[in-house]
Every structure is written in structure tokens, then in C-alpha cells.
């Protein structure tokens, strides 16, 4: 299996462990990830909060590059990047917008690139195939946290169910884990306010952690670097607002799968978390 790969900025910086675990799991499953050459930032929340054309042009350049480099399909592990690329692709079905963006980019853009997230990559790879390679079942009770960007807007992403999604739960069950019905599966963690409005992030992420912890989760499983950093790196600030501190770790779905496949904690970047991971 060979597929294009767009890591995005977070995965080269504050969320390196996500990148490391994606690469490690891909290697273990013999998926050949071909990193997009000379990729740029997708613009994230900042671009579409500030300027529409910019918010379309940045992702469009990424997709145009992929087309230029002959990629038919790319996997985008970062939920924010995935969302921006998919939404842009949808928006550019509008011909005037497409013309304008082509003019800005000075690059041809076809718009037929297939964009998938990590969960879709693993699903496509096949749960049976994953099952066959498990060496240490991931026997933990966890809360799968999807956040916003992976499932919404449903009309465009068409991924899983918008309320109570199940694809991550299904993967966890495949590797031997137990998942739970909980209340904050798709509630926002505060996203891009991590730096600018830490107070709000602390409040929202706190609610999420509390519900998971109340229901006895041993860990939160995520597929978005923003969610992970808010729930993990901001833990100190969050715990200050809670009656009793919460120490459950927040790990990426690829790290959970990596563990089940017998990949070492270091290789999966588990040492990089603020909240110690002992699973």
C-alpha cells in the first residue's frame, strides 16, 4: 500500500509524537507513506478567520502540489489540516472561486485528489490485517475523543456520524480495548484558542477530561494535535481549576495501535507527553 502523506506544521513541531507514531505504525503495517514535497501550512483557523481567499489558496497550493507530484490520494493525520483541505476542495467546486484561486496560485488545480484522515487510512488498510499483527492487545478502557474537525461539517466531510461517531471506537475494539459511551465525544476542546484564550481552553478541556475521568476512562484517545495539546500540555492549568487533579493521559490513536503492534514507547513518542503515559 502506497499513499501520499501531508504531515502539516504541528506534526513537525509541538506534536512530533503524532508524526512519529503515524510513521512507526505505517512502517509496521508496511504502508509506504510518500511525503508531499515542499508542502506549506494549510492556514488553519487563522487564515479563515482573517481572509477567505487566503484560507482557500493555502490548502489549494497543497492539493495542487500533490496533483503535480502525481499523487492520487493523501493521508492527512492532523484533523485541522484534514478539515481545511476537504472544505477547500468542496468550496473550489464553485467555478468563480476556482478561477480566482488558480489566478492567485498560478498553478493548475484539478480538484480530484482523494483526501483521507488517519482513521480512514487504517479502515482502508483493513481491521483484519491489523488484528493479524497484534502482539500486545491494548486491554484498556478508554474514551475516544473525536473533537470537531474530524466529523464536522458532515455535509462536506461525509465521515462517520456527526453525533456519536464510531470509527475510532471500532479501531480501539479491534486492538483489544474497551470504549465507552460518554458525553463529550465531539464537543470542542477550545481548539485554536490555546495561546490566545487559554482561560477558555482550560474550561472546555476541563469539562471533557472530567466526564471521561468520571466514567472511569484510563486514557483519552485522539486524532487531532490541537485536541491533544490542549488536553495534555494545558493539564497543569486545567487541574488548577478542578477539585481533584486528573492524571489520565491523552494519546493518539496511532500510538494506541502502535502499542498493540508492539512498537516501543519511545518510538511512538509517548515520552513526549506532559502527562505521563503508563499503559
Amino acid at each position: 500500500m502506497k499513499i501520499g502523506f501531508y504531515p502539516g506544521c504541528s506534526l513537525t513541531g509541538s506534536s512530533r509524537e503524532y508524526n512519529e507514531s503515524v510513521v512507526a505504525v505505517a512502517k509496521a503495517l508496511e504502508i509506504d507513506l510518500v511525503e508531499l514535497k515542499d508542502w506549506n501550512c494549510c492556514g488553519a483557523t487563522a487564515a479563515h478567520s482573517m481572509n477567505e481567499e487566503l484560507s482557500l489558496s493555502l490548502p489549494a497550493r497543497i492539493m495542487a502540489l500533490a496533483e503535480e507530484q502525481g499523487l492520487k490520494e493523501i493521508v492527512v493525520p492532523c484533523a485541522a489540516c484534514y478539515n481545511r483541505l476537504k472544505v477547500t476542495q468542496h468550496e473550489l467546486e464553485d467555478q468563480p472561486k476556482r478561477n480566482r484561486v488558480a489566478e492567485i496560485l498560478q498553478m493548475p488545480y484539478k480538484g480530484d485528489l482523494k483526501i483521507i484522515n488517519v482513521l480512514q487510512l487504517l479502515e482502508a488498510y483493513g481491521t483484519e490485517n491489523i488484528k493479524a499483527r497484534i502482539t500486545q492487545p491494548f486491554a484498556h478502557k478508554v474514551a475516544c475523543y473525536y473533537g470537531c474537525l474530524l466529523v464536522r461539517p458532515h455535509a462536506i466531510l461525509k465521515f462517520d456520524r456527526v453525533e456519536d461517531p464510531q470509527s475510532m471506537d471500532a479501531l480501539i475494539q479491534v486492538i483489544g480495548g474497551t470504549t465507552m459511551d460518554w458525553a463529550f465525544k465531539t464537543e470542542c476542546c477550545g481548539g485554536g484558542f490555546s495561546v490566545s484564550r487559554t482561560d477558555l481552553v482550560v474550561k472546555l478541556s476541563g469539562n471533557i477530561l472530567k466526564d471521561a475521568s468520571d466514567r472511569g476512562a484510563e486514557a483519552l484517545i485522539v486524532a487531532c494535535p490541537m485536541c491533544q495539546s490542549n488536553l495534555d500540555m494545558r493539564r497543569g492549568a486545567i487541574n488548577k481549576t478542578l477539585d481533584s487533579p486528573i492524571d489520565i493521559p491523552v494519546i493518539y490513536i496511532t500510538q494506541a495501535i502502535g502499542l498493540a503492534l508492539g512498537i516501543g514507547a519511545k518510538e511512538l513518542g509517548l515520552k513526549r507527553h506532559f502527562v505521563t503515559v503508563e499503559l
Partner: protein, 186 residues
């Protein structure tokens, strides 16, 4: 739609038809930050429906548009499928161009600007640079002093920016879009 609702060109820019809203409040009921906003989303829709300049200005001056996280819970549940997040994007740009930003927007805009600056110069996000730029914009020098060293220790911070090769392309994109927008203020 009659002229009364022409105070903004919201519909022509975003396709959002405010008159579709029948004020059920489901957006507000599920909004994670509604309680922090001057006007929760359903209230904001009603203000827009009145179509008056006065109420439109209220919105542009409010913190609501800046606190919206674009988490899209509202859109996912809206029985009329009104794209509130898209509308918020638009209202933010209007607020900037008419220079009516709520004080709460300062750190948020500062962050967005720092973020975009970083991309403009390197093509990718340079987190250390971003934080430094953000701090100098907001004078919040003490913020996150506790987590930065930890991040460094955990290998989460690059001290040098990663740069893409075709940085001129980036500059050109910025020049043609956000810097080209007549409405943009410094």
C-alpha cells in the same frame, strides 16, 4: 429578500440566509461558549434579521464573533442548516475592516496575525517565532513561561524555523489575497 435586510451583503458573500432562522435556539443550546458571548448565536441571528444598521454594528462590536471556535456544533444540529460558522468568518472580516473589533478580539487577532506572518515568511508555522511574535503583539510576556521549557525538553520546540523552498510563492499568495484586500487594516 427585501431591501430592509440589505444592511450587510452577508448573503451574497456567504450564501447564508438569515431569514431562514426561526429562533429555535438549538445552536445556542449546544454552543460551548454561548455563556461567554455578549450575544449567543441564536440572539445574533435575530439581530441580523432585524436588518438595522444599529443591530449590525452591535454584532460587529461584540465579542461573540471572536469567541466562536468554528466547532460547527451549531451547523451540525441546525434544523435549517444555516452555516453560522461561515457567517462568523464573514462577520469577523467585516469587524476588522470597519475597525469595530471588541477588546476580546485583541489576543485572538494578534495570534492569527502572528500565525499568518509566520507562514508568509517560511511557508510553515514556526511555533517559537509565533509565540514570540504573539507576546510582543500582546505584551503577555509571562504567558506560558511554565510550559515552554517543558515543551523544549520534550522535543516539541524547534529553535529554528522550517522553511519551504518556494517562499516567493507564499509571498505572492499573501500579496494577492489578504494584503490585497482593501478592507484590511493594520
Amino acid at each position: 429578500m427585501d431591501k430592509k435586510h440589505k444592511v450587510s451583503d452577508l448573503q451574497s458573500h456567504t450564501g447564508v440566509e438569515v431569514m431562514r432562522c426561526y429562533q429555535c435556539g438549538k445552536c445556542t443550546a449546544g454552543c460551548v461558549l454561548a455563556s461567554d458571548m455578549n450575544y449567543p448565536p441564536s440572539y445574533l441571528m435575530r439581530l441580523l434579521q432585524t436588518g438595522t444598521k444599529e443591530n449590525y454594528d452591535k454584532i460587529l462590536h461584540s465579542n461573540s464573533i471572536w469567541l466562536c471556535l468554528n466547532c460547527e456544533n451549531c451547523l451540525g444540529r441546525c434544523p435549517m442548516e444555516i452555516d453560522i460558522p461561515k457567517m462568523m468568518d464573514y462577520l469577523r472580516t467585516r469587524s476588522i475592516s470597519e475597525n469595530k473589533m471588541h477588546p476580546d478580539s485583541k489576543p485572538i487577532i494578534a495570534f492569527h496575525r502572528s500565525f499568518l506572518d509566520s507562514i508568509k515568511h517560511t511557508g510553515r508555522l514556526y511555533e517559537v517565532g509565533l509565540i514570540a511574535a504573539f507576546k510582543s503583539r500582546t505584551f503577555r510576556f509571562a504567558q506560558d513561561l511554565n510550559i515552554a521549557p517543558m515543551m523544549y525538553l520534550k522535543g516539541k520546540l524547534h529553535l529554528l524555523p522550517e522553511k519551504i523552498k518556494d517562499r516567493r510563492h507564499m509571498k505572492r499568495i499573501f500579496a494577492q489575497t489578504i494584503e490585497n484586500a482593501k478592507t484590511e487594516t493594520k
